[in-house]
Subunit: 346 residues, 4 copies
């Protein structure tokens, strides 16, 4: 039985790790960390866990944690994981960080977009970017895993075959993304109140959203040279779900069959990436509560552009589900263990 | 491996049976019945099932079904199950009917409230009312199970200890219930359009809703003599969930501890009924996607009334989940098999 | 031109007063008070007011206000208005208080339910309870108006004809109320976040909600002797709207025509109270954005109870609209001035 | 007093014309046309109009209408207005068509995208495209007005200054649009049911949506030569509102001040177009229920692209409000008459 500790277990992503691990036959959660709710029963914070989880929230004592658990999930704000990690801890326990601290290889880029100083740049090289479908082999042996961002996962998986196979002009990529409100976290802020979000949609972080460099870096690796994109996130009045609508100019003579073959090449054997039938557009309702990401594309012959689309549940494949998928790979378990729940609809 | 057939698999409740049985290790679905979508792939009707269910929708040939399966779920409109059932079929296969056809023992009452003639009254006596927590023993051996209504399950479980222990005046019961919109089914009707339901709440079926006699009959059995109640359902702009707020006059000298003891007496050992801590009110968000029903109560010393409350997911404990729970009991499986998924939040 | 000042103009009710007065031809707002946003442009707080309101938020200097305006609206937390009011101010300006400070005539009752000491009990007798349809004559000459609560307005108007005409047993009244989330205010609290409210319904303040004594006091006046009720509010995932479903035992031999005649007697000439056609239930979507309250009732012959229902927009007839209606009466203007906007649907 | 008739008054747009005209001091509605609800009281179709509109729904007898009214609004499916219009009718009455029949000057383009034959191409030249802010002068004298589409209005007004002033490369325009569900109409279809729309977002009509050629034609006029764009609409779980996020490559050396000056040039004097302050993004909540369209832009120095954004209420400025604005211009009334209601929030 793998023993797991969760730092930040009372955020939405942290709670989703709990929900998923409760259905995982090889893992036991032994540490519910929460700086805000120390000494509270976990079910007092999340009533759904009443009579399911009896644990009390603890702090974030890493040394103690490293003795007690085999894996630590950090579902915490940027800067925390990098301030806690050190060689001693990494020698005892595997860390899966859901924050951005170890996602970006270039420290300067990280510090520019996140506007904070990196606390432990010496571990960035070692950290593996855990987009399972693309980095599976590297994930296997790693000690420190950087779990991708929610927008990032959806954006990259939607575009990867196009970029990797060089079917599009990489300078023309525009990613227009839409997210449910759980992506904004559980902090008590006026803009996230029900009456402010409900019955409205807005763009935010236009040209400045922090997932931009993460998408660019990974797509750049896939293409073989740096890529710059436009990324615009939007806040949608729903709890869960991310939809990505991405635009790019197709290279000449690339037709439907070629593109379809590229998607099939990379995803036909992927359990959690579903390439939809022709002309079927991804919808977030079809992936809610599950680890699936649905992708598809449409070619516009008139303008020569391709519209690549993807949908996932931001808390599952966009956060907790992918974290558990990475954990499975890191510990040599079947990759889909604990993750085969069907999407919940309606 | 138990082989299951579902008639009406393309309604919301039918689809929820599919979702739950996909996670049930002892059951295989071999028949996806759907009068409206015959010959269509099931995933074309419910996109969440893409690459999960490859089956094609079939009709409702009961004779063929009876040969092929061990259990038939009928998630169909009133009057269908009772028109299909006969001794030959019941001798070969167990039937779990999610419609109201066999819920009410008094045919006249059924025909009065449902305004249709009962097609096979000869099986009413045999049919077992499948409110698992109350009728568990009878469910065990039965061939024909009447799965309770969604409002009914929530109303009865909220009130049962009070009625059974005669702690309230049974003539004072008022049940004010609120339901998510999936309870209205998947029919294409203007009142169920997004823009009609969203941003509104209304009562409907006031004094005439068909779950009224079902609640009355069962509470009457518990009390030992007939009971008449007021039941008022409301439509709430959310997908899932039923909340019951029930009012009754407490008998004299009944205090908190007495009532709490009654709830504990009936529910302390029930896996799926959670009696909440004092002063914590049930909320539908805490049970969504799960088979739990949360109940609690509050005593108003000023008026001498008790307010009993309950919350469940109308598609799970209010329909498909309870149907599977009944199936487990009928087939001698662990009652919670396939039903232990934690509630999905947010 | 009447000059108006609003203290608490950056809450939801305060902003609704602004919206309504912008369409009122006889009023000019000259003071946008807001403790939290002093020196900010009003449109920075509420983007809908961009290029419509150019004013900057001010504090709550009552003496200065009393010199500058003819009427002050206080849309503030309990205890503020009563701490600001004094004879000098009342001699110069009319005050319409949207808080509960002057709604309840019995100080002890106020202090018991609100758990604060009343700051100026000497003005309670003078204050007029501004339920326009019932207290119109008293409103005319008053200096200090206590604007009724949102739940209260809906509850009383739904039940008034029954109580006033003594058609029901007053000891049997149960009010089950459902409110949109704007009623919870604009404070940054976790329970009011989008993801916490969306897709859920709950009861709250069961047996302890502060609108209870207000409803009881007013219904008691109507009946001629004290009345005790049960009042249970619920939080509904929608922005605006209150629905009341009230239950009571009808006195013997009271039939539909008698009850209908009672409703018509009090409301047939009321512009903002719409008694719906027989069997039509109020729905909050039909009153949204307007000052209307829709009421109706249904008699249950089986149980001898009547179900009285009412729907209104909590921010309009439940707060700002009624405040303006009261202002119109107090200043001798046509009562409906500025309030005739049709409900916005969908 | 202008007499108005509305054909298609029981759709969402038709009802919004009613709501707006009820607050218009110079217009009286004398004909509520509705093929589906003939002989029904209008308030039975839209309960918000109870005791406000007493009229009964009528058919679409154009000859009778032409005798009785001064202006006809056709809020009907494509193909109806063009099948009803003729010289005799146009000689007696002005027509404002909210369908697409007369929006596109090139018949072949219309027939290709709408897949129906145009019934009266002889009137296309005469018809004026009623985007008020751009075609105001032509609107003044016209008899047959083609009211722009909802997506179109938002897209064009967001991009117009950039295109007209040639600040962007017209071949790089991508319009990603998001709409509330009222845009899908009031037809009883499964995809528009509450449970299907709620908690989900999807793209639809990708590369094929009919507003594409309309946007292209109008932007082409502005630029002086044909333009081809990508237009992708999305369905958002909210009742009202359209948000447009448009992308284009800026021409060299175009900076913020230049762009801002362009927006101010065209919109500074426009009552209903609000150019927001720098860095403030449009949100649909700030325009709901009103005739305003909020626009703004952001320049991405990294990629050389501009992101132009716009938000409006699809039923007001995107349909009924603009229709009334056009009517005001056509009849020589103040353009803003009946349209100055502030946005309703929350």
């Amino acid at each position: 039985m793998i023993k797991a500790g969760i730092i930040g277990s009372t955020g939405y992503a942290g709670q989703e790790i709990v929900r998923i691990l409760l259905g995982h036959k090889d893992v036991e959660i032994v540490w519910y960390g929460s700086r805000s709710f120390i000494d509270k029963k976990y079910y007092e914070v999340f009533g759904n866990m009443f009579q399911i989880v009896d644990a009390t929230c603890l702090g974030e004592n890493m040394d103690e944690l490293a003795e007690k658990v085999d894996v630590i999930f950090t579902a915490t704000p940027q800067g925390l994981c990098s301030s806690l990690v050190n060689e001693d801890i990494l020698s005892k326990v595997k860390i899966i960080d859901l924050s951005a601290d170890f996602r970006i290889k270039d420290v300067a880029t990280y510090e520019k977009w996140y506007k904070i100083e990196h606390k432990s740049p010496e571990f960035i090289d070692e950290a593996v970017y855990g987009l399972c479908e693309i980095n599976r082999d590297k994930v296997k042996g790693c000690r420190l895993l950087a779990n991708p961002g929610c927008y990032t996962t959806c954006s990259i998986l939607s575009l990867y075959p196009l970029v990797k196979e060089k079917l599009i002009d990489p300078n023309t990529i525009i990613v227009d993304a839409k997210s449910g409100t759980s992506g904004a976290g559980r902090g008590a802020k006026i803009p996230n109140l029900f009456c402010e979000v409900n019955e409205s949609i807005k763009a935010y972080g236009v040209t400045t959203h922090r997932h931009t460099p993460e998408i660019e870096e990974q797509l750049g690796y896939a293409y073989g040279s740096p890529i710059m994109i436009n990324f615009t996130p939007h806040l949608v009045p729903m709890n869960r779900g991310i939809l990505v609508t991405a635009y790019a100019s197709l290279k000449e003579k690339v037709d439907y069959d070629t593109v379809r073959a590229a998607y099939d090449k990379y995803y036909a054997n992927e359990r959690f990436v579903r390439v939809l039938d022709k002309d079927v557009c991804p919808e977030t309702r079809w992936v809610e509560g599950s680890n699936y990401v649905d992708v598809n594309f449409k070619i516009d012959e008139r303008t020569g552009r391709i519209i690549a689309m993807g949908a996932l549940d931001n808390l599952v494949k966009g956060a907790a589900g992918q974290a558990v998928q990475n954990m499975n790979i890191m510990f040599g378990l079947p990759e889909e263990e604990g993750l085969l729940m069907a999407p919940v609809f309606p």
